[in-house]
């Protein structure tokens, strides 16, 4: 079996490795760098900046940990970006080494379909060549979406890509979109000292999260003196030598040195020759796929952001495994029932399963159809020891069976703790199962056990209601 994969992000490279493990002859075509958006302009670089911001925050707060320090602390943007680049370089090398070890051919250039069975690769400095395969996987990903009336200029109006490569810390920044990226970059730059203002069209920050999570993050943003305007639209933007001005619906004008637009992602379907391969797009411009990750052409699969579903690296990877499984004859459907996700704000956020507002929207009632258990980070000894007491655990379970429906965590290490809930949900377990499992003390994960206990109204370390 010969498989050709267009794109080597977390979808494409994982698919390539699994294909090779299963005995396929795999070729990957990559225009930029292996690892895709996730490794080069997304997940990993933002987390290195988060780590720098956290280190700085802790250093500023040394006195509260009993450490005397006299000296000057200063975030150095150039060095922060250098560190980020060296983390990326290590990871890129890692993927290239894995490709080599599994005998995967990497073609560096831009690939596009010239027929249903042929891909033309135009490399930067090498010759053009035409490749064929038995099966193809489109994993071309997405890019930051711009606002047509004020497109990115790379200087004043920037995307997440430029925000990861700042050579100096801006004194002020407006961020359009208080979603995952807006809130993450807001927290990072605020920590470095930037005056940050978030502008959100929807009525709350992180609209897709549980409303209680939004409420807590909004308070945490306020604590950091990050300004948040919700329910407003940016009507117009003007730029000048010194900065940028945003004109909001309702008449307000905001000025800053940078404007970061984080309103979503656009799908990379142009210039891929999809029209030559009989691959159709949906109304939003994403590649249409079925539950087996097959496109309208049965020999061509598509995975990851370009399919327009959940734009998450780990979903792309799982879709890649699913597509390769199907190519190699193990018929399998992509299962989206349990998809955990993290948001790397301070404090961190993680969620899996249903949000309470989704239950309310479908007419379910608290106490009748579902029950909620909560537990505060500040009630955990470990949280106090760490000096990170903000946050909450929220467990939503079926009112009759106590089966876990959703878990939401905001607080230190939330994105690691969530996987306990994900495994439990994947196994169809109940809140009792979480509650009755002994949790090591002292850990933050004890909070999840207590929140699960609270579903049954018996959290031990919570005051009597």
């Amino acid at each position: 079996m010969k498989i050709l994969i267009l794109g080597s992000g977390p979808g494409g490279y994982v698919a390539a490795l699994r294909g090779a493990q299963m005995g396929a002859e795999v070729t990957v075509v990559e225009e930029k760098e292996v690892g895709g958006t996730c490794l080069n302009e997304g997940c990993i670089p933002t987390k290195t900046l988060v780590a720098s911001a956290e280190a700085y925050a802790k250093a500023k707060d040394l006195a509260s940990y009993g450490i005397d320090f006299t000296g000057e602390l200063r975030p150095n943007a150039k060095k922060i970006v250098q560190r980020k680049n060296s983390v990326i370089a290590t990871q890129v090398k890692g993927i290239r080494a894995l490709f080599k070890s599994w005998g995967i051919t990497l073609k560096e250039g831009r690939g596009s379909f010239i027929s249903e069975k042929q891909i033309r690769v135009v490399s930067k400095n090498g010759p053009e060549e035409t490749l064929t395969a038995d099966k193809f996987i489109i994993a071309t990903g997405s890019r930051p979406a711009s606002i047509p009336t004020f497109p990115f200029d790379g200087n004043r109006i920037i995307s997440s890509t430029e925000a990861l490569d700042m050579q100096e810390i801006p004194d002020s920044m407006l961020i359009i979109g208080a979603g995952v990226m807006g809130c993450e970059f807001g927290c990072i730059y605020r920590e470095f000292g930037t005056d940050v203002t978030l502008i959100e069209l929807m009525p709350r920050a992180l609209t897709t999260e549980d409303p209680e999570i939004s409420q807590i993050i909004e308070r945490e943003l306020k604590k950091k003196k990050i300004k948040l305007h919700t329910g407003v639209k940016v009507e117009k933007v003007t730029t000048s030598e010194t900065g940028v001005t945003a004109y909001l619906s309702g008449g307000k004008e905001l000025t800053a040195s940078k404007l970061l637009v984080t309103i979503g992602r656009a799908f990379n379907t142009a210039g891929v020759g999809l029209e030559n391969a009989g691959v159709t797009l949906d109304k939003r411009g994403a590649v249409t796929v079925n539950e087996f990750m097959e496109t309208s052409n049965k020999d061509i699969y598509a995975i990851g952001d370009v399919t327009g579903g959940m734009l998450l690296a780990h979903v792309a990877s799982k879709q890649g495994l699913c597509a390769v499984g199907n190519i190699m004859g193990h018929k399998e459907k992509m299962d989206y029932s349990v998809i955990p996700a993290g948001i790397f704000t301070h404090p961190e956020i993680a969620s899996v399963g249903v949000r309470e507002h989704q239950l309310i929207e479908r007419g379910d009632k608290d106490g009748v159809n579902y029950k909620v258990g909560r537990f505060q980070y500040r009630a955990l000894g470990k949280a106090h020891a760490m000096g990170e007491i903000s946050g909450m655990f929220k467990v939503i379970a079926d009112a009759k069976t106590n089966k876990l429906l959703g878990v939401h965590i905001i607080g230190q290490n939330a994105s690691d703790i969530i996987h306990e809930a994900a495994v439990a949900m994947k196994a169809g377990l109940t809140a009792e199962a979480l509650a009755e499992t002994v949790h090591a003390h002292p850990t933050l994960a004890e909070g999840l056990m207590e929140a699960a206990e609270d579903v049954m109204g018996r959290a031990v370390h919570a005051p009597k209601p």
């Binding site: 308070r219 306020k222 604590k223 505060q376 500040r378 009630a379 106090h384 007491i389 903000s390």
Partner: protein, 128 residues
Amino acid sequence: MNPEELRYHKEHTWVSISGKKATIGITDYAQDALGDIVYIDIPEVDAEVEANTEMSEIESTKATSSVIAPLSGTILSVNEDLEDSPEIINEDPYGKGWIAVIEISDDSELDDLMDSSDYDKFIEEEAG
């Protein structure tokens, strides 16, 4: 122990009245129950507050709780020192730890407040 010149609300806020203006804070009992205060979400000037509803949120190392408005009115000024030093509330709840000054919109609500001796009894019962 609670100052005689102040009036008290059952949700543990105090009021100091001067004409149409009322200064509001939380009581010593409340700050003691909360423990070390780490953050207060100070209301905004010109915002309307309604008696018996939340006017601010306080976070301590033990809990996050609502500050319930003792009276209805419009916020005239707020104690901005609390933004960076919320612990002032623990240190001096009836003085430097004041939260906001409002212009009273409904004088009749004053009748619902307790004097210091009633409040002393009230918290004694509450402490059980």
